[in-house]
Symmetry: C2
Amino acid sequence: MAESDKREDWVAYRPDIKVLDCTVRDGGLINNHQFDDAFVKAVYDANVAAGIDYMEFGYKGAKEIYPPSKHGPWKHCDEETLRRIVGDNDTSLKIAVMADAERTNYKTDILPRSESVIDLVRVACYIHQIPLAIDMVKDAVDKGYEAMLQLMAVSTVQESDLDAALAIAAESDAGGVYIVDSFGSLYSEQIRALTKKYVSAMDGTGKEIGIHAHNNQQLAFANTIESIICGTSRVDATMAGIGRGAGNCPMELILGFLHNPKFHMRPILECTQEIFHPLSKTMDWGYSIPYAITGQLNQHPRTAIEARAGDAPDDYVAFYDLSVEEMS
Amino acid sequence: MAESDKREDWVAYRPDIKVLDCTVRDGGLINNHQFDDAFVKAVYDANVAAGIDYMEFGYKGAKEIYPPSKHGPWKHCDEETLRRIVGDNDTSLKIAVMADAERTNYKTDILPRSESVIDLVRVACYIHQIPLAIDMVKDAVDKGYEAMLQLMAVSTVQESDLDAALAIAAESDAGGVYIVDSFGSLYSEQIRALTKKYVSAMDGTGKEIGIHAHNNQQLAFANTIESIICGTSRVDATMAGIGRGAGNCPMELILGFLHNPKFHMRPILECTQEIFHPLSKTMDWGYSIPYAITGQLNQHPRTAIEARAGDAPDDYVAFYDLSVEEMS
């Protein structure tokens, strides 16, 4: 192809980049983790067929905080729940779960690795929970798991605090640290600065950098590839971009960009067409203007999610007026 | 705001950046330029209220190629058609039209500026039409207009040919040259390389660089801001991202990024809510997987547009199979 000449960076591929599908985990935030087994199995089968590296099924949420009578099975990811879908997971796809700081009984609910099909524990925390998160990471690694640290809402963290958190993470047992743009508020220049900061803080430790982007400003895919270019090697994506609010980086776009021959597009398209296109008629996710406004204001998308679920989901002007008002 | 510290590039604004709304021109490619006057007036009023710099109404298409019996009024932008909407345009908004090489009787259909409300003529061409386009630019400038050169489908142009075209453009009467990603196939690293090339080729001439991006891979906004960061000062956007196929850079996103105090978000949101949200129920534009596939393959979105208008708009797998097949 003639284009090859000017696309030398793009024509090659980086074998170190690993893709994690967080469809069921992040998508579960829309429906309180109530996906049925057939749905989760379809996503699992598609990921296996597509050669995706990891699939995240949900949370290890504490049952006294999230009673099973009120929350779906993917809020807890009990071992028997996971095995209903994956059996002994005799595939190349690794299984991931998320453990939220202060909302996980990690000492008891995360089993020794020898008793579990789980491969990776992703510990999610806010900046003030870093010490707890580091203990959760250590617990997971001691039990035999790979563990990653997800510092959420990084767009609201002071730079000096972030430096301190990264210094702690660099000394921790975590295999890597993720840049998490929870509010979908970061522009590419900020993603580049953050990625360079994370890369520099982990320099010499062998730890990887990851990116979890949201689509509030239609930048989830763009920010993911920017972060890759600056040195990130772990990326999150979802089928049809499903996820809370404006959703995540769409799987079909990131696979097209990576073009690692181990990945296969067709099973992703098949799953998107058969499962997610119909689902999008009854479940609201993806870009809309209220999410753009919360992203621009560096706010949690909570108010936009409420507006989208309310009587006037497309009253953008009222939402804008209220959002600007509430800043003051 | 605490965030200011780490956003110093983003907190300031660049007064040199001018925004052109091409809603009616690019959106007209969906409905054969059949928008009614009330629609066009609503877009015009919103642009005036929002402080947008330019509004492009349509083409100056030759009537023997595009007979008025078969094409809407915005395919020709006759002087009286424009004046039905803008009168003498006693506003700060400048009026633009597009003139396609080989499809415009530019010598006769573009009037002397003193007889027209038009301010800017954008000459669109493919690489083999550069000599003609340069003559069209000269004709417009001689008549008193500002003129810009739009070299379309740049993702299919050989780099050496592009260098030659830019050298000619640098010597021309054009006020500037646009990077036009007609197929929505370019990634941010390619946008950066192209912008630097265009900036370098125009160095010392006083000519501006512009960007016209498409959203086939959800990168229209991202690529627009990347190009800005690398030196572009003219950007195209549309209401609700309307435009052929996957559409363009959404106006609400670019205004949020630029935050030049002369721009106002509220009239844009009002127009989007009242006109474009209802319109999106009956007109198909915006991201969908067939556009991602043509973007990834660096192909014209024609086949994707046909698929979206056909019996199986969401048969992504069939479209993918056919697209890969037809490459060989």
